[in-house]
């Protein structure tokens, strides 16, 4: 293990005209660490995630990523080709709506295999074997490999999206509300699966969610956002058990008790 962070973010801001997307966000992310970003709708969570994953360019600030060769690279100074290459090899992006992250008109096997083919794998048998292996790891039956994701349930689609992202062995995964829109029992299994994969593969992840329970289960560290600013950050258990900022106190006390 190295004691250098995987991602260094400093004073990141994104403005949409005069409106604030996110403002002056700084943090470090270490390898194998899961960071949850929580906050209500419109607090800038998704803007922050899109900036970090270079899907959006920030208005100001820097983010540097430690590449596999150990060198830090400034994300927003990389060429588009390099960023896109990083995106499909060393990174993953799990969308809230699986249809955004999957190719809905090609089979599950091809969805998983696409990244492999994109990095130059040209052996059908091997690609297929890897796809079978990954489908089983995300608990999708092998005989569904030639079905299109359209024929899958919401939970299965989400699991397929996760398999598709993890097949190239990324080191950093961005997740935008990975359990949004799923019922609680499916959510529970998906969280279980994610937790297992993250631990087994030593993934670093940034999880955006408005669900504090998801954050509690998945993450070690947490950032609470409000109106584009980070109002509180710290270890997840500390933030949830002993919230200090008034907004975090409100958020924690708003959890419905069953």
């Amino acid at each position: 293990m190295t004691d250098e962070p995987l991602l260094r973010v400093s004073a990141l801001s994104k403005f949409y005209g005069s409106r604030v997307g996110c403002d002056n966000v700084s943090f470090d992310l270490w390898p194998g660490e899961v960071l949850a970003v929580v906050g209500e709708s419109g607090s800038g969570k998704t803007t922050l995630l899109n900036c970090l994953s270079t899907r959006l360019l920030p208005s100001s600030g820097t983010a540097s990523y430690r590449m596999r060769d150990g060198q830090f690279r400034e994300l927003y100074r990389m060429s588009e080709a390099e960023r896109r290459f990083l995106m499909r090899t060393d990174w993953g992006f799990v969308h809230q709506n699986p249809a955004d992250g999957l190719r809905m008109t090609v089979s599950a096997g091809a969805n998983v295999g696409e990244r492999l083919m994109a990095v130059g794998d040209r052996h059908y048998g091997k690609i297929r074997a890897t796809a079978v292996d990954w489908l089983s790891r995300v608990e999708i039956d092998e005989d569904r490999i030639d079905d299109e994701p359209r024929a899958f349930s919401g939970g299965m689609r989400q699991r397929l999206q996760i398999a598709r992202n993890l097949v190239t062995g990324p080191r950093l995964v961005f997740m935008d509300e990975p359990t949004g829109g799923l019922d609680v029992s499916v959510q529970a299994r998906l969280l279980d699966l994610l937790r297992g994969l993250v631990t087994d593969l030593g993934l670093a992840a940034i999880v955006v969610t408005h669900d504090l329970a998801v954050a509690r289960l998945l993450s070690q560290r947490m950032m609470v956002m409000k109106d584009g600013r980070v109002v509180e950050s710290g270890l997840t258990d500390r933030v949830l058990d002993d919230p200090r900022a008034p907004y975090t106190q409100l958020l924690v006390s708003s959890i419905l008790q069953v």
Partner: protein, 322 residues
Amino acid sequence: MTDIATYNFAYLDEQTKRMIRRAILKGIAIPDYQVPFASREMPMPYGWGTGGVQVTASIIGPDDVLKVIDQGADDTTNAVSIRAFFKKVANVAVTTDTASATIIQTRHRIPEHPLKTGQVLVYQVPIPEPLRFLEPRETETRKMHALEEYGLMHVKLYEDIAKHGRIATTYAYPVKVEGRYVMDPSPTPKFDNPKMHRSPALQLFGAGREKRIYAVPPFTEVVSLDFEDHPFEVQTFDQPCALCAAENVYLDEVILDDHGGHMFVCSDTDHCEKRRNAPTSPLWGGRAEGAGGGLDQSTPHSTPTPALRADPPHKEEGKEKQ
């Protein structure tokens, strides 16, 4: 005959030809880069070869000899009309003979007779973008070409194998040109793909509706995409042409009657006629249905010439015995 004076030479005005020639030159300089051009209205509907006609009109000169084929045939409506068009507006010599043509405009075939240096093959292209049906956004596909992101092309081939057990794409089979751009070779059968590889002829592609021109210069690498464990292969036919007994050529199925009668004949009509009319050939002028049945047992041969001399008598004997 003064009606020719009503048109500029080869129909298009000189400024337009200049613009198209520039696009062609850029296309040749960057093999298979899809060059946008200001496609003109032509006196024919889109889908009938407006792109090919504009390319031909821009490169044709008074000394050129033009051949036009449609699915390999010189005598179909599209081919006859385009040939007549250029005869009228450019007053050029036209031919059906592949070897003596200097410009061959084609819809969806490459002639069987090998092309030679100095010849130009002009393709009519309906959809120039090989990634179109995989990624509908043109902004995105252009980016993918620019960044050489072609993993998606293999996704299509993967799907073929997963569904059919083999690569089932039979036409518009994607190729990689000079190790860089992935190209749609227009809807030619994949049978013709190997003919594009290091062809001595210049190959120009015109897509009128899509307003794109691209080119494969002579002696350029054109490699069909495939998987290591599912290599590219061309169509094979289990019987030779029913008219000229040619093997290793692309055959069309011709329906003869309403009772399931059919035969397979050369798609390249010029090639077929030449073989049947060759004075050295003992071939006869046309056999009809059922001929294929007797031909199946003949030993396969790779070159057409021995076939001409040796096989037909045997086949006739075989047929009589039946």
